[in-house]
């Protein structure tokens, strides 16, 4: 989306006309259509099953419990905060990876993606070892500032950001690489420092890519389970997010777990669909 966004912008002054969707031929080749449909079915089937088996009659009762709303609220707040943290730290990191050249950059990029392959529970343990009360850095945080992250909502945000930020970094870095660097050069010739060029030119140009990365990170943070429960623990209203509530409900009340999952699904679909509409109209 971003690629077309920037190239469109570059081409626009020359062609002068707004871009319109390309007209497609009527035929979709079967070798593409069949796996595509199978893939779609594969992705949707579990969701459909969830809906089929949902305890619709018991749903109102499930949803009136304060724990559900607490968990939902906490999930939304912490996922949004984690996305914020990811943006503040991840966009500059993406810029560094995309726009500068330093020895070992390839290695750094690989390290950035590590949380993607690390089992989240291991990520949670690693976070404890680093930022826990007795952790490498956490010890100092506790001793000097009296800050302990485990078992706090801040800890939830940290765990979610740890798992979600790589999505944002990868997405934004790709967008930056695809973006036309000559705009930054144009800004430089107009007296803009690299930071000003980044802030006033690059960032607005790659905004759709940043937004896409942020949504991806938000969705990942919303569904985060392993790192969160390991690093931040599970306490209703403080660190019990929806996925944790779902998991624990699954232990002895699968119907409640399904109900909670439905709430999470509905909210995320609503938010994602809402965001998408806003971009469409904005761009």
């Amino acid at each position: 989306m971003t690629r077309s966004g920037t190239s469109d912008a570059a081409a626009a002054p020359l062609t002068g006309g707004p871009r319109r969707g390309r007209v497609r031929g009527p035929g979709v080749p079967l070798p593409l259509l069949l796996p595509a449909l199978a893939g779609l079915a594969f992705l949707l089937l579990p969701l459909v099953a969830l809906l089929v088996r949902a305890p619709w009659r018991a749903l109102p009762v499930q949803l009136t419990s304060t724990e559900v709303w607490q968990a939902l609220q906490l999930s939304l707040v912490s996922a949004t905060a984690a996305t914020g943290v990811s943006l503040v730290l991840g966009v500059p990191l993406a810029w560094l990876l995309a726009r500068t050249d330093f020895p070992g950059r390839g290695l750094v990029r690989a390290l950035v993606t590590l949380p993607l392959v690390l089992p989240p529970v291991v990520g949670g343990v690693a976070l404890l070892l680093a930022l826990g009360r007795n952790g490498v850095v956490g010890r100092g945080l506790d001793a000097w500032f009296g800050i302990t992250l485990p078992f706090t909502t801040a800890g939830v945000v940290v765990a979610e950001a740890f798992v979600a930020m790589p999505f944002l970094v990868i997405s934004v870095e790709g967008t930056l690489r695809a973006a036309d660097r000559r705009y930054e050069e144009a800004a430089a010739t107009l007296g803009a420092s690299r930071f000003t060029a980044f802030r006033r030119v690059t960032l607005p140009l790659v905004a759709p890519g940043v937004a896409a990365g942020a949504v991806l990170a938000w969705a990942r943070a919303l569904g985060e389970f392993g790192a969160t429960i390991t690093f931040a623990g599970n306490f209703p209203g403080r660190t019990q997010t929806m996925p944790l509530a779902v998991y624990l409900a699954l232990q002895n009340d699968p119907e409640a777990a399904i109900a909670l999952s439905l709430v999470l699904l509905a909210v995320s679909i609503a938010v994602l669909a809402g965001l998408r509409d806003r971009w469409m109209t904005a761009s």
């Binding site: 404890l128 826990g132 007795n134 623990g233 599970n234 699954l250 232990q251």
Partner: protein, 279 residues
């Protein structure tokens, strides 16, 4: 849910269990070197239950996470006694295991950490026969090595400033802890309700929490990474561990032999060493 839907569901589960059992059978037939057809094999094993004392094939045991160390030892013992057999374990939270058994997972034996979780399986008529309690487990407080906060009773855990983790109420160790707290009319607000007993213990091992209420066996297994503190109220919340042969067990006679080993003097010896109490 309508009755017909429920019936369909049951049928599907049974079909799923059958298919999975076939898979396990074919796996064990290849491991035992026999190339015979799996259906035929299951027939022959059923008919030869009394005629051939020689046991073979794989036994799949679903067991509560707290049994990991002792059951692993017993499994090795069993394989030594009965060459040609293989004991394969699936350790986990009792509820999760119960859910997968009722969902059709292929297993011969289920050893749960509470009668309540065993009841999930028996309610669905997935157990063959009545479950038997083979050990009991008692709660204990796990503190940091050296017990720096001088915890000596359950009441000490309610001291402010102390970071305590409990198991979530939905898992047996959490339910037991609530029972003990309720019996002594104590109100304890932990920093976290952990999803299983091992996670609770890990938080103390990593010194993120000052204390956790876990099983005696877990304290024992953790060695010197934590220090155990017994408390009298734990007697009011003793967990009985039931074991049962499962109805759809692919390898019934070997499974029965394994249960017998667990309940034998030798088995009790191993379990007691791990910190379990006699039933």
């Amino acid at each position: 849910m309508t009755r017909s839907a429920r019936r369909t569901r049951r049928m599907l589960q049974t079909a799923g269990a059958g298919a999975a059992a076939l898979l396990v059978l074919s796996a064990c037939s290849s491991s035992s070197g026999s190339g015979s057809d799996s259906a035929e094999k299951s027939d022959s094993s059923a008919s030869s239950a009394s005629s051939t004392p020689k046991l073979s094939g794989t036994i799949t045991v679903f067991a509560a996470a707290s049994l990991k160390e002792s059951f692993t030892a017993l499994g090795q013992e069993f394989e030594k006694e009965h060459p040609g057999t293989k004991v394969s374990f699936n350790f986990g939270g009792s509820d999760t295991l119960a859910a997968s058994i009722t969902g059709g997972a292929p297993a011969d034996v289920f050893a749960a950490a509470s009668p309540k979780t065993m009841a999930i399986v028996t309610d669905k008529k997935d157990a063959a026969g009545t479950p038997v309690t083979f050990v009991r487990n008692q709660l204990e407080i796990a503190t940091l090595p050296g017990n720096p906060h001088k915890v000596s009773s359950l009441k000490d855990l309610t001291k402010s400033g102390l970071k305590v983790v409990l198991c979530d109420k939905t898992v047996p160790c959490g339910a037991a802890a609530q029972k003990a707290l309720g019996a002594s009319r104590l109100k304890l607000t932990p920093v976290s309700y952990e999803q299983d007993v091992k996670s609770a213990l890990t938080k103390v091992e990593l010194k993120e929490a000052d204390a956790a209420v876990v099983y005696r066996t877990d304290v024992k297994a953790a060695g010197d990474k934590v220090q155990g503190v017994e408390f009298p109220e734990s007697a009011k919340a003793v967990n009985a561990y039931p074991i049962a042969l499962l109805k759809n067990a692919p390898n019934t006679e070997a499974a029965e032999a394994f249960i017998a080993l667990v309940r034998s003097a030798e088995g009790r010896d191993v379990l007691t060493k791990a910190g379990f109490l006699q039933p």
